[in-house]
Amino acid sequence: MNVRTVFAAALAVAALAGGPALAKDVVIGTEGAYAPWNLSNPDGSLDGFEIELMKNVCPRAQLNCTFVTHDWDTMIESLNANKFDVILDGLSITPDRAKVIAFSIPYASTPVGFATLKDSPLANLPETGTTVTVTGDPAHDKAEVAKFLDAFKGKTIGVQTATIYTKFLDDFFGPVATIREYKTVAERDADLIAGRVDATFDDETALGASLATKGNEDMVLTGPEMAGAAWGPGIGLGLRQSDTDLKTAFDKAIKAAIDDGTVKTLSEKWFKLDVTPKQ
């Protein structure tokens, strides 16, 4: 069945590339295995935040979108090898990736926050439940963090290594707290449960997944949601650099979906929080 799908996709791509400037058929490559962004149901149908969003965005852009599933590891290479036209897979917009592919404007930007244990003194941080904007400007962000920094004096914060969050913690929390890095989320969470770290730091969709995992029932979110440009531009569609018309069409439609609250509604449905990019 997959052979036929891929072949059909290849033909669709062929038709698209050979056609006039703005074609109507677009093949979207997605993993179908990155819940709740995109996921598969046992019957093979696709579902998730991004899938529903695209079913809203494509008609706005007057594009006839079909989905193919593809492995994450070869997503970007496959886009450039014309296996499909769009990457839809929780793809963060980064300067490195922007060298080889183009991005649409972001349709999501996940806020970042802390998790701790129910009975921890950190469980009721000041500003809990509010949203703080972090812009990436050190002076501005330092002032925002100062509102609840004192609570972390002498505490240990666990974070997944090699993420943008590590640097943020080092810069603003490093002077008062110990930052401990972990290779995987599972190790980090195990140490929170075991009391070896006092809090964990991650994007809230990831923390939400940790909270929902069996054995982590005592975990709670604490402190403000931190959202904004400090975490990079956000999550966007991956496009070939040559497909400028497609980018224009998607940008316009995504902007419309953000402006009329579609992104917010879908986000709250799938993430239980608002991931609409702030700017």
Binding site: V6, V13, A14, A17, G18, A33, A35, H70, T74, T213
Partner: protein, 239 residues
């Protein structure tokens, strides 16, 4: 621990999904083994050739395909193949043509398996007693008849145990095709795991299905070996 209703065939159960993956794994590996047998026989013939050039060609093939990581070969065929077929398509104004993942997988795993099968065939050919070929010649059998009546049946018999090993290797190599998005067992397990966040459950389930496939094929080869051994006098077969 593991919620077994998730692995069932009812509403919300991933049983059929995983089983479809197992069938795809089996089919793609069978195709790969077939491609490997054809290419492998040719490579074995080249390695056994009296001509030095052919021997070099055969040796180069087995050196490369046994010495390079399987994943790399699959990437090469997947992306390199796209380039080649794409260029071919462009000639006819048909841009963006790309080989289907199934074909890439079967050819990739098949070419790797060919390098191992070639060694199996070569070893088996050398195991055929020189006296038998001499005797056949003495009886006036033609080259073709010797090949058909004396060499093939014995090479086939000596090869079976080795081919069983190659089959198992290929079955596991086929998991690497998941990088092309082909809906085989590895990929189906990943999708189910990622969609439910139950990684342990679905990777264990996938592992069990691989074990079922390898255990069943082990038995099938055992039966085949005994059958083939029946037509020979007790010497080598397991009886």
């Amino acid at each position: 621990m593991i919620d077994f209703s998730l692995l069932g065939f009812g509403q919300g159960g991933w049983g059929a999904w995983l089983l479809a993956g197992a069938v795809m794994t089996l089919v793609v590996t069978l195709c790969a083994l077939f491609i490997g047998a054809v290419v492998g026989a040719l490579v074995a013939a080249a390695k056994l050739s009296k001509r030095r050039l052919w021997r070099v060609v055969g040796d180069t093939y087995t050196t490369i395909f046994r010495g390079v990581p399987e994943l790399l070969i699959i990437y090469l065929i997947y992306f390199g193949g796209s380039g080649a077929i794409g260029a071919f398509g462009n000639l006819f104004g048909n841009k963006g043509l790309s080989p289907p993942a199934f074909l890439v997988g079967a050819v990739g795993v098949g070419l790797i398996s060919a390098s191992y099968q070639a060694e199996v065939f070569r070893g088996s050919f050398m195991a055929v007693a020189a006296g038998e070929i001499e005797a056949a010649r003495a009886l006036g059998m033609s080259r073709l008849l010797r090949f058909r009546r004396i060499i093939v049946p014995q090479v086939w018999r000596f090869s079976l145990p080795g081919l069983g090993n190659v089959w198992q290797l290929s079955l596991k190599d086929s998991a690497l095709i998941s990088v092309t998005g082909l809906a085989e067992l590895m990929r189906q397990s990943q999708v189910a795991a990622g969609s439910t966040h139950l990684y342990f459950t679905f990777y264990v389930a996938g592992g069990v299905l691989y074990l079922v496939l390898t255990a069943l094929s082990d038995r099938a080869f055992g039966v085949a070996e005994r059958r083939v051994a029946r037509s020979f006098r007790g010497s080598l077969g397991r009886g």
